[in-house]
């Protein structure tokens, strides 16, 4: 038991660096990314739009040139590229030729469930970034994120608890799912290597990488 406890801190530090976990990101150094409409395998139809539009801003903040989803959406719809499934394992060179994009970001929403009483929205999601030059996968992470949308009142006691419970139910039912989608995306991309417009560009190669498969709760 003592030995196990002694080894535990060591194993926590024995994880890969970002450079080791995502070597192709650091080899290819993509500058521009096009975000594909999310692939939604759940019955919750709206999940697709909640993820599609919330990817742009965090990726830009990571230091990339990201093609505006509001502009590319029209092109995808007119040129039958709205079904991302067709491109997930396919040739991506046309995104390089038509847009000048270095990489394509895919998101696959695998599960979407809400618990009105606890206030948790749980989303199973996979992010895959592929190169338009080599077709290689540059980055991928998959897992489950629970977003706590519960409302905390300042009052205590039984009445306070009842108020919290009722407010949580309302909040979850009307929760701004864009915010939930953004929180989920922000968590997954927290490990995304920085792009050339970020002061962290290439410096983050030595940072400890997070796990590729995750299960996390965010507020």
């Amino acid at each position: 038991m003592l030995l196990f406890c002694a080894l535990l801190p060591f194993s926590a530090y024995a994880q890969n660096t970002r450079g080791e976990q995502y070597p192709e990101m650091y080899n290819e150094k993509p500058t521009s990314i096009v975000v594909m409409p999310s692939i939604n395998t759940t019955n919750f139809v709206e999940a697709k739009e909640y993820f599609y539009t919330t990817l742009y801003q965090p990726l830009v903040e990571k230091g990339y040139y990201v093609f505006s989803p509001y502009l590319t959406m029209e092109m995808f719809q007119t040129e039958s590229a709205y079904d991302s499934e067709r491109f997930l394992d396919g040739d991506l060179s046309q995104f390089r030729h038509v847009l000048g994009a270095d990489a394509v970001m895919f998101t696959i929403i695998k599960t979407w469930s809400r618990n009105s009483l606890s206030g948790y929205l749980t989303v199973g999601v996979e992010f895959i970034l592929r190169s338009t030059l080599t077709g290689k996968t540059l980055y991928s992470r998959e897992g489950t994120v629970s977003v706590n949308t519960s409302v905390q009142s300042t009052g205590g006691g039984l009445f306070g608890a009842l108020v919290d419970l009722a407010a949580t139910a309302i909040s979850t039912a009307t929760t701004d799912k864009i915010v939930a989608g953004r929180k989920c995306t922000a968590y997954v991309l927290s490990d995304f290597p920085a792009g050339r417009y970020s002061p962290e560009f290439e410096k983050d190669k030595e940072y400890k990488a997070k796990e590729n498969h995750f299960k996390e709760t965010v507020r």
Binding site: S68, G100, A101, I178
Partner: protein
């Protein structure tokens, strides 16, 4: 450990961009369109992010919206501004400009 020492100041200021674009995409009213225009103007003219630059895509979105609102002269100028700020956008933005000029 290293990651925790990294800078957390945003590269760009976005104001209420996300909400404004989402609302306008859901409901194409004149009021929401004006609200969105104001957000673009704030983002373009009042940048407080660490880069001191307009975020990728903002000149293009603003210019495109101006064109759609019947102001192609100014709209095209902003689309060209996107290429100046971000040369990697040239291929795509030139394509949009070509379509709008037809």
């Amino acid at each position: 450990m290293l990651a925790s020492c990294s800078s957390t100041k945003p590269l760009y200021s976005w104001y209420n961009y996300e909400r404004a674009t989402y609302q306008y995409s859901k409901k194409n009213t004149e009021e929401l369109q004006l609200k969105l225009l104001k957000e673009y103007e704030r983002i373009i003219h009042h940048q407080k992010g660490s880069r001191g630059m307009v975020p990728p895509g903002m000149y293009a979105e603003y210019g495109y919206l101006l064109c759609k609102m019947g102001n192609p002269t100014e709209g095209l100028l902003f689309l060209k501004e996107e290429i100046k700020a971000y040369p990697e956008s040239e291929q795509y933005i030139s394509r949009i400009i070509k379509q709008l000029e037809q």
